[in-house]
Amino acid sequence: MLIIPGGGLNSKIDFYTLTAPFHASQEFMSEYRCITPDLRNAPEGKSSGPLEVDRPWDSHTDDQLGLMEHLGFKKFLVMGFCIGGPFIWNLLKRAPERIVAAVISQPSGLRPEAPTMSYDNNLKGWGPQICAMRKDINMEQVEKFLRNMYMDKDFVYTVSRDFVKSCKTNVLIMPDDVPAHPYVVAMESARLAPNAEVCLYPWKDSKENIALALRHVRTFLKANRPVA
């Protein structure tokens, strides 16, 4: 199971111990081989590579697919938090035959009333951080990268509503409703995708509700695990 941590462009392995609603690896490592990468160029992570300004989403998706290929996994489950939402849709677009089922937790998406929010936040936060660490990257490149990533996009950033409508993969969506994780986008994607489920909401507000949501996740993964 590929697990994509949250934290926007600072998505990194120790998300679990910092701001995650649950520790995905600890929850599922007794049942699944859990693999979590630092996102390329997450300032607090250890993955590195070029800043591919013309193909921001796809460069990260390449890394994720490349890692799973390297580890020998033709097919896999995927669970993503926050920025993991757009990444999962991109994986489903690029490698639909490899994704057995997907859990999309607190998905990022475009909030129509604040369409430049992700661009603005990363330009102020992530951009200066990565430039300070990497002398080969400047703010002009960062601006272009973020523009291609977030501007003139819609919905879940990486795919269209028509793609979601046609996606047959089983997905479980765990909605959130903070500025970067719009509830309306989470629910719309769940209603459009022909094999989507949605967990109870709210679920992050208490330990009891997180436990209920996790039982749903566990059931969903079990039902979708390929029979050996």
Binding site: A190, A196, L200, Y201, E208, L212, T219, V227
Partner: protein
Amino acid sequence: MPFFQKDKDVRIHYREEGSGFPLFIIYGGGLNSAVSYPAGPFDAFEEFKSEYRCISMDLRNSPVGQSTGPLDADGAWDALTGDQLALLDHLGVKQFFVMGFCIGNPLIWNLQKHAPGRIVAAVSAQPSGIDPKDPMFLARNNLTKWAPDFMARRPEVSKESVEKFLDRMYRGKDFVLTVSRDFVRNCQTPLLVLPDDVPAHPLEVSLEMPRIAPNGQQSLYPWKDTPENVKLAVRHVRTFLKANRLAGN
């Protein structure tokens, strides 16, 4: 649809469709529960008969059904549970899933109490329960929505007998009527609850059950408000059943 003669007095009308692992379906409607449920939020037989052996029965003395037997005030819930287990025995069903709507909830819990180990997983949709603010609501509801039709069909049963029966079913009960909170806390059977919030189906009970049951889950809520949300809830049910089939049961 076939009948099962349980004993000299009790005759059960039942429905069976599909094949595979047995799914016992208890439709809603209070004491009018029968083998179909036109007012239900989804058609459980249609949804699941392609994957499971779906079995349902008219509740004994449901006026819209054809099952008949004594109005057993002393047996009350246990008499109805006895009918259900007898039918499942008759059909050779040892272990099964159970899905209940409305009155199906207290009947599911009574099945859990009387037949531990036989229920592999349970789905409780729009569960009936006791609203502490109006604990006799269910008794009054059945007095107006079940008793008149039942007495019209069974003129030999007195009004006093009906009142005594409803009293035994509903007076002095709490929570899910048939078992205690401690029973629910100790019940290891996987449970999926699809909450509702009408007087006969108090939201508080819907929410408390999965939170105290050690293997409880809850669907999205609300889910009955739009066809899209019903679909999302039914997909959760399908996944839940599939996962529990795959669990080696």
